[in-house]
């Protein structure tokens, strides 16, 4: 019989560890939902964000906050460039999905090679001292990193939910996600929504990278593997359901952490791949449950898109 404190500890750790995965997953799921593109360039954003932070802190001795802002600027520029230069060009050429796939994957690889050339393939820590404060709460170890991670990811997720639901730009984005042409008829600039989705992806990826980098070391190739978690969560949560994907990210993290209790730790990474494969085969539309379709999440009918679009007539 397992000690309940151990179970609570595993649960707490898995939820805290899920925080950056939630942010990466939201970034991935949002771009897929709005633009329809499986954005495998996301590891490039993560890599650029990390090394921008690393350079700012370790080469220029900037405070961490400024380093994060520098990382955000770098990833936002890269993300906007990908959308404006590459995705737009591919859209104009009416390329097949496989071309998007090749581009995104190869571009991510290209950035990995460039980062490897610049920073070597060795893992790097962002900060020299990353030991967090530790408290013992009822026998459960709680760290300052855990609290920051959970508050930041929950706060950003809630802010996105509110932004999508309560702002005009957010509603425009939902309308474009549902039916870009119909949205355009109602005066919404779909290209602007595509760009906004990519910029939000940069924001969430940078935030996730910050959390990751204040706990773990990173090497150029690692983001490619981290991204698979986001892909699995996106599929399990249901394509088009950004917040369903976020919930799935937490669920996978919990499952992965608890798997230590039944399988050897060396097999733990296999859990994500197994979930990914099973999710595609058994739940290609995600795990659905009642009452989950909400406008803020965009998982509604085409009429929903029209309704969202018709709630505005012109764009700012």
């Amino acid at each position: 019989m397992l000690d309940p404190v151990i179970l609570i500890q595993v649960l707490w750790t898995s939820v805290a560890s899920a925080s950056f995965q939630v942010l990466f997953t939201i970034a991935f799921a949002l771009v897929l939902k709005v633009t329809g593109i499986w954005n495998f360039t996301q590891p490039a954003l993560m890599g650029v964000a990390f090394y921008a932070m690393y350079v700012a802190v370790n080469w220029f001795a900037l405070p961490l906050l400024l380093a994060v802002l520098a990382a955000l600027a770098a990833s936002a520029v890269l993300s906007a460039g990908i959308e404006r230069i590459a995705f737009r060009a591919l859209r104009r050429r009416a390329e097949e999905p496989i071309t998007y796939f090749i581009f995104t994957l190869i571009f991510a690889q290209f950035v990995v090679f460039v980062l490897t050339l610049l920073f070597t393939p060795e893992p790097l820590y962002l900060l020299a001292d990353m030991v967090p404060q530790i408290w013992l709460v009822g026998g459960v170890v709680v760290t300052s990193w855990d609290l920051i991670a959970i508050v930041l990811s929950a706060g950003m997720t809630a802010a996105l939910w509110h932004w999508l639901r309560a702002t005009r730009q957010g509603q425009f984005m939902i309308a474009v996600a549902d039916n870009a042409d119909l949205a355009e008829i109602y005066g919404i600039d779909k290209e602007r929504s595509f760009l906004a989705a990519m910029l939000l992806a940069a924001l969430f990826t940078t935030a996730g990278t910050y959390l990751f980098a204040t706990k773990l070391a990173l090497f150029p190739e690692l983001p490619l593997h981290v991204m698979l978690f986001a892909v699995a969560a996106t599929i399990l949560g249901g394509i088009g359901s950004v917040f369903g994907a976020a919930a799935a990210a937490v669920a996978i993290s919990v499952l992965q952490q608890f798997s230590v209790l039944v399988i050897a730790s060396r097999w733990q990474p296999l859990v994500v791949f197994a979930i990914l494969f099973i999710a595609i085969i058994l739940f290609p539309n995600g795990v659905r449950w009642r009452g989950r379709q909400r406008i803020a999440d965009g998982r509604h009918s085409e009429d929903g898109g029209a309704a969202a679009a018709s709630s505005v007539t012109t764009q700012d």
Binding site: R93, E95, I106, F107, F113, L270, F277, N285
Partner: protein, 311 residues
């Protein structure tokens, strides 16, 4: 001379890989990037059969190819139930999951890799290396011609019809799944053959060799050479094996050579994707471009992966 022979063997192996990958993603339109894992399965299968079970190397090579072909069914049968985009993701999960298993099993050599693989010839002198070049060369040409023969005949027309309009194809009573699984198995079998040839020449296999980076290299060969062309992937394989060697002549530190070669690989693909998407030998393989005017651009939903659900 030995350097050239080794390079020729590498080129031949990659011609087999690129041509068979072209059969799957180009002719079949099946978006899988798991080709490196079938390359690995052929290599590991053949190496283990020869080393641990005492099978002769030639039959082990053939069985290695069959192992890869059979394993492909494990991916294709369930994964092909869903649409192309999901196949890509499933293939990534399949590839990395199997690699994780290979890394953790003792009898595959684990993360340290599989050594002491039996060579095809007792020793590798210049003469036997040239003989290996001949073996690989014949098999590479045979692969290219087999792929061409497959897609040129009546079966090829069925493949094209299935790829271009699967719904219409099914409405005619044809079994699209059977064609996909068969294509997948044939392509993977050739990948396994390449893997076996690789294993019995280089005599060492490591799981790290078959990561996603390898998928990028294979995509590079196909895209640069020309998707859905007969000799394009072969040309791509030749270029992508020979060009990075130029870096070696610069006598740069090893830490720089790998990334620079990678930048050449991926940079070439990006260059070709935006300037000559049909590749060196290809004609346009994507749908015809629409007018430049934004207003006339096709709707996003028509050209990109489906946003919700799958057939």
């Amino acid at each position: 001379m030995e350097f050239l022979a080794s390079m020729a063997i590498g080129v031949g192996i990659f011609v087999i890989l690129a041509s068979s990958f072209n059969l799957i993603i180009g002719h079949g339109g099946l978006m899988s990037i798991a080709h490196p894992i079938f390359f690995a399965l052929g290599g590991y299968g053949s190496a283990l059969l020869a080393r641990d079970l005492g099978l002769g190397v030639p039959p082990a090579i053939l069985l290695g190819a069959l192992v890869a072909g059979a394993a492909s069914v494990a991916l294709s049968l369930p994964a092909l139930r869903v649409s192309g985009d999901y196949l890509v993701i499933a293939s990534i999960g399949f590839q990395l999951g199997l690699l994780q298993i290979i890394k953790n099993l003792d009898w595959t050599g684990g993360a340290g890799g599989l050594a002491n693989i039996r060579p095809l010839f007792a020793t590798y002198t210049i003469d036997t290396k040239l003989a290996y070049v001949a073996v690989v060369g014949v098999l590479a040409v045979a692969t290219v011609l087999a792929v061409r023969g497959l897609v040129a005949g009546p079966y090829g027309r069925a493949i094209t019809a299935m790829r271009d309009d699967e719904e219409a194809f099914r409405s005619l009573g044809r079994n699209a799944t059977a064609i996909k699984v068969t294509l997948f198995a044939i392509g993977s079998m050739f990948a396994g053959l390449a893997g076996a040839l690789y294993a019995h020449y280089y005599l060492y296999l490591s799981p790290e060799q078959f990561e996603i980076l390898y998928s990028a290299a294979m995509l590079t060969m196909v895209v640069v050479g020309g998707v859905r062309t007969t000799w394009g992937p072969a040309l791509g394989a030749l270029l992508l094996q020979v060009l990075p060697q130029a870096i070696n002549f610069l006598k740069l530190p090893t830490a720089l050579t790998g990334p620079l070669q990678g930048i050449i690989f991926t940079g070439l693909v990006l260059f070709f994707l935006f300037t000559r998407p049909q590749g060196l030998l290809g004609t346009r393989w994507s749908p015809p471009a629409r007018p430049e005017d934004d207003d006339d651009a096709p709707p996003a939903g028509d050209i990109m992966p489906p946003k919700t659900g799958v057939p």
